[in-house]
């Protein structure tokens, strides 16, 4: 959304001391709803933060990605009065700052932006997106055993950021990505231009970071679409289908899953009500079922396959950007331990099996 002039190789950034963050946040809280990673029973969620003490910017990952802010689990699209044939769109937008977004999630937001602004632009998403300021943060160490951002190429920030922070110890280096970012930096106390010394500190931090992240795929991610293409009939989908409980957790926590259902809620007048958008999932029973009851993806295995194909291939074909950003949330959420890393690696391994395995027939 915010295009930044990289053309002239302008790499200026600012320095904000951690000691002034509290003051800065008090100022931001007056004009924005500020959300950031907050602890919840040993895990983290993006939640409203009042003071800097609420937030932990060194969080590993959150249960739900920041998509929940841009695409709420449930939202009113419009209200209707059937009797009067009147409809009132509800395009809600309050200024929001999301603080501490990991780079994988920034890639996911870039994809959502693409999906909801192309073809028929979705005014509800876009209104919210326009009012949202994204403050991302450089990941300096792996957040979970399931994350494979180094493989998926999502370990660097996308150009969608308004501000991008890098932890330099006592300070943050702040890269300003947009006018929105400039605006909130204007409120920040104690900010100064980076000096030679700061450039060196940043360079050290950045050069040390990459070695800490392992590759977890046994092949280059650019091979993923073609690997999936030859794996459509793999028996692995059947095996995963016997493990999958169809609970949809993987898609709920996925930062790039955006499928939804639309339902009506009506008052007792039976005339006025609201049309509501709610999250839906290709893993659930009714998702691909048509009016006469025919289900085009009846088995759990066919649904698991659809999800992985969507993440590894389909979205890339449709939008030029891979659906999986390597955040590892689906793996963490899956009680049956169906994970993208193991699934993709297993497909890769099976590709070289000399003995042909029986091909699974999937409805």
């Amino acid at each position: 959304m915010n295009r930044r002039g990289y053309g002239e190789f302008e790499m200026t950034f600012k320095i904000i001391p951690k000691s002034v963050l509290a003051e800065w946040f008090d100022a931001l809280n007056r004009d924005y709803r500020v959300l950031g990673p907050k602890p919840k029973a040993g895990q983290f969620i993006f939640d409203e933060i009042q003071t800097i003490e609420d937030v932990d910017l060194e969080y590993p990952t959150t249960i739900l990605p920041p998509k929940k802010v841009l695409l709420p689990t449930k939202e009113v699209l419009f209200s209707f009065d059937a009797n009067e044939s009147q409809f009132e769109p509800q395009i809600e937008a309050v200024p929001v700052i999301i603080l501490g977004i990991h780079t994988c999630d920034m890639h996911a937001i870039a994809l959502l932006d693409h999906v909801f602004s192309s073809g028929y632009p979705d005014q509800h998403y876009l209104a919210r997106r326009t009012k949202t300021t994204l403050i991302s943060i450089e990941c300096l160490k792996p957040c979970s055993e399931h994350a494979f951002c180094k493989d998926t190429g999502t370990l660097s920030v996308t150009e969608e950021f308004d501000l991008h922070l890098t932890d330099l110890g006592e300070d943050y280096a702040v890269d300003i990505g947009s006018e929105k970012g400039e605006l909130i930096m204007a409120n920040a106390p104690g900010v100064r231009e980076a000096e030679i010394d700061d450039y060196q500190r940043l360079e050290t931090v950045m050069s040390q970071k990459w070695a800490r992240f392992p590759y977890r795929l046994n092949f280059d991610v650019s091979e993923l679409p073609s690997l999936l293409s030859v794996s459509y009939d793999s028996i692995l989908w059947k095996i995963l289908g016997t493990k999958c409980m169809g609970c949809g957790s993987c898609t709920v926590v996925c930062p790039t899953c955006y499928c939804f259902d639309v339902v009506d809620e009506i008052d007792f007048s039976l005339e006025t009500g609201e049309r509501i958008r709610v999250w839906d999932s290709c893993q659930l029973n009714m998702f691909a079922t048509v009016a006469d009851g025919h289900n085009f993806r009846e088995s759990h295995g066919a649904r698991v396959r659809h999800r992985f194909f969507r993440k590894g291939k389909y979205l890339a074909s449709a939008y030029g950007q891979r659906g999986c950003v390597g955040c590892g949330r689906c793996a963490q959420a899956c009680l049956a331990h169906i994970t993208p890393i193991e699934t993709f690696n297993e497909l890769y391994r099976r590709q070289f099996l000399t003995v042909y395995e029986p091909r699974g027939t999937m409805p």
Binding site: A41, G42, M245, G248, E265, S281, N285, L335, A336
Partner: protein, 252 residues
Amino acid sequence: MASTIPKARIAFFDFTCCEGCQLAVADALQTHLDLLEAVEIVNFREVMSEKSDDYMIAFVEGSCTRMSDEARLKVIRENAQILVALGACAHIGGVNAIRTGLDIAGVRRYVYGEKAMFFETDSARPIDAVVPVDAYIPGCPIDLDEFVRTVKALLLGRIPILHDYPVCVECKMKENVCLYTIDKTCLGPITRAGCGAICPTFGVGCEGCRGLISNPNIRSLKEVFSENGFDEKTLMEKMKIFLSYQTMESES
């Protein structure tokens, strides 16, 4: 459209149950005054003494546990245009169905002791084992919003369709920490959603009161139990509370 629909007469009946779902309805009536305006209640033992057999929608709470229940239930079915199973007992037999598969005479002696001969009891069945049912409001107790939504749908001439996905969906959307990560068990992955994952939200594992989804993967849940240090017996015991009748049915 709506003005042409006369005020629907609705009635409540109870069989073997704790009447908690009717209490929940009484609660809903207090917070949804528009509901009271949209319908006319003609039979509701919990809140009124008048009775009438002229009703359009009958809500039946409780499971069928005596032969004499069957005749009464059939009369209600005859009188009602729409019959709704209200709560877990009517929907899936409920806690009463724990006796499923046990020796009924023995159960009777265990419960009533010396006076067992004075009490009629049989296996506990959901009401659709006796009469056709048009709509279900699951849960122990029912979810108030679901009750209200169901009444609206019925007034619109629609039969509401239950969600056919597990509680996990709603639990994750609420951003709850999965109970399995804190050494607890939960039947969420096989239980029908619609409750807003209320138990897990308050740290209590799902007990399956809303019944099984249409294709529960119990085999996989067994593995989840054993990986987390609980044996298959624990799962089976947990499933007994609300899912005895459904489990028995799916096995037969």
